[in-house]
């Protein structure tokens, strides 16, 4: 392979890793601001979103330049096209973290409420999916990506169970509908983060195996 392309690919992977590290941190702080009732932390997450946006544009520009300058083929082409999509998902996760932080800020302005479900546990599941999907890309490990895809159902079930639980609580205590609805929105955003991580894992499978496995349920 020409050295220049390999150099650019190594650089691109570093850029994606660095974007992912920021996005992971954003999700951690956003959920933390809900758990700790920390309005300042929630504000910080919202402010930092411009950095995520800026890095997303940088990654996209790098991908476009690599396509134009190297006209890559086969695994290189699959990698760069997939990074364009993964980049998009990472930015989306950044937006979802901001949504969570907004709910945290709103919850801070209301009387404290006990969180009646395992929010931290749900976050840990999402965080590990995100982390592993990017790890699978960098280490070129399709098995790890398949593993991430298999973990999405558990998060979906968690979200569903929490929703049922929260709706029941709202029925019993209509005065608490607003904060409970906000907590429900937090879990909905977390579940979407897991979906984005699954998208990333599916792209990693495309990069490593050349197979598009989306929309193949039941095949």
């Amino acid at each position: 392979m020409p050295i220049h392309l390999q150099r650019d690919i190594d650089f691109l992977k570093k850029q994606v890793l660095s974007l992912c590290a920021i996005v992971e941190d954003q999700v951690r702080l956003a959920v933390g601001s809900v758990l700790e009732r920390d309005a300042a932390m929630a504000r910080h997450v919202q402010d930092r979103d411009t950095e995520v946006d800026q890095r997303e544009v940088e990654v996209e520009e790098k991908c476009l330049a690599m396509l134009a300058l190297h006209q890559p083929l086969a695994s290189d082409l699959r990698l760069i096209v997939s990074v364009v999509k993964i980049n998009n998902d990472l930015e989306r996760i950044g937006d979802l973290a901001v949504n969570i932080a907004r709910k945290a800020a709103a919850l801070c302005e209301e009387p404290p409420i006990d969180i009646p479900f395992d929010l931290k546990g749900m976050w840990e599941k999402c965080q590990s999916m995100l982390h592993d999907s990017i790890d699978a890309m960098v280490r070129f490990e399709p098995q790890l990506a398949h593993d991430v895809c298999g973990r999405d159902d558990a998060v979906d079930r968690m979200k569903h169970d929490i929703r049922v639980q929260l709706e029941e609580m709202m029925r019993r205590d209509p005065d608490r509908i607003r904060p409970l609805e906000r907590l429900r929105a937090v879990t909905r955003n977390l579940e979407r983060i897991a979906d984005c991580a699954t998208n990333i894992a599916e792209d990693v499978i495309y990069i490593t195996e050349g197979r598009i496995i989306r929309h193949r349920e039941g095949d």
């Binding site: 020409p2 050295i3 220049h4 392309l5 476009l64 134009a68 300058l69 006209q71």
Partner: protein, 262 residues
Amino acid sequence: MDCVTAPQDRFAIQTHQLNLWYGTFQALKEITVNIKPRLITSLIGPSGCGKTTLLRCFNRINERYENVTTTGEVRILGKNIYDEDVSLGELRKSVGMVFQRPNPLPISIYDNVLFGIRSHTRRGAFARSERDGMVESALRDVELWDETKDGLRRKATHLTLEQQQKLCIARLLPLKPQVILMDEPCSALDAEGVERIEELVDALREKFTIVMVTHNMGQARRISQECIFMLMGKIIEHGDTSQVFLNPREKETDMYVTGRYG
């Protein structure tokens, strides 16, 4: 940017309203361009667009042909090379050139490397050890030392084309040029030779200003940081290579790089 107002040291090569005629045919029209130091600038465009003619203005090698008329300015490191006090010898010492077809002299590898510097200095200007050092350093810089160190007295014409082209680059280095002009330096080589010369040129770019004419747009994309697109004697566009190939400003450039024209 207008080269008259641009700070001189920001650019290695500047031209201002450069025109050139072969007899009555105008090959270059009002060329004003600023070329940055220590990077690779590629010159692309269809055959006959003037890219080689422009390259040959930078060391005044065009003047070897009859009927050539030039007007305008060419400044190398701030000095107008068409001024009367410019010595062609000194100019070509600081502006080296590599040609399409490797042109080693039919003498030893060792003497080829020293040929340029010898023709610019008096006889005996360098001790034997200095000469040996220059040869080794130049051949190392072009990654030819390990292959040739045990046969430096062999005739250079016995080398492969790739090795010959590396030798032609090595031959410039003892003169410590500021600028290296390359006129399709890979067109005589096979695919592996092309890749290795490209790697070499890439490695040299930090020390020199390299201007390269190429017919191969892939090569321009791969190794140059800035790219100039010419058409019918004019510069249509000059910018970052990624910008020229991804998002050209001019419609003509877009048509050329997408293969719809030329």
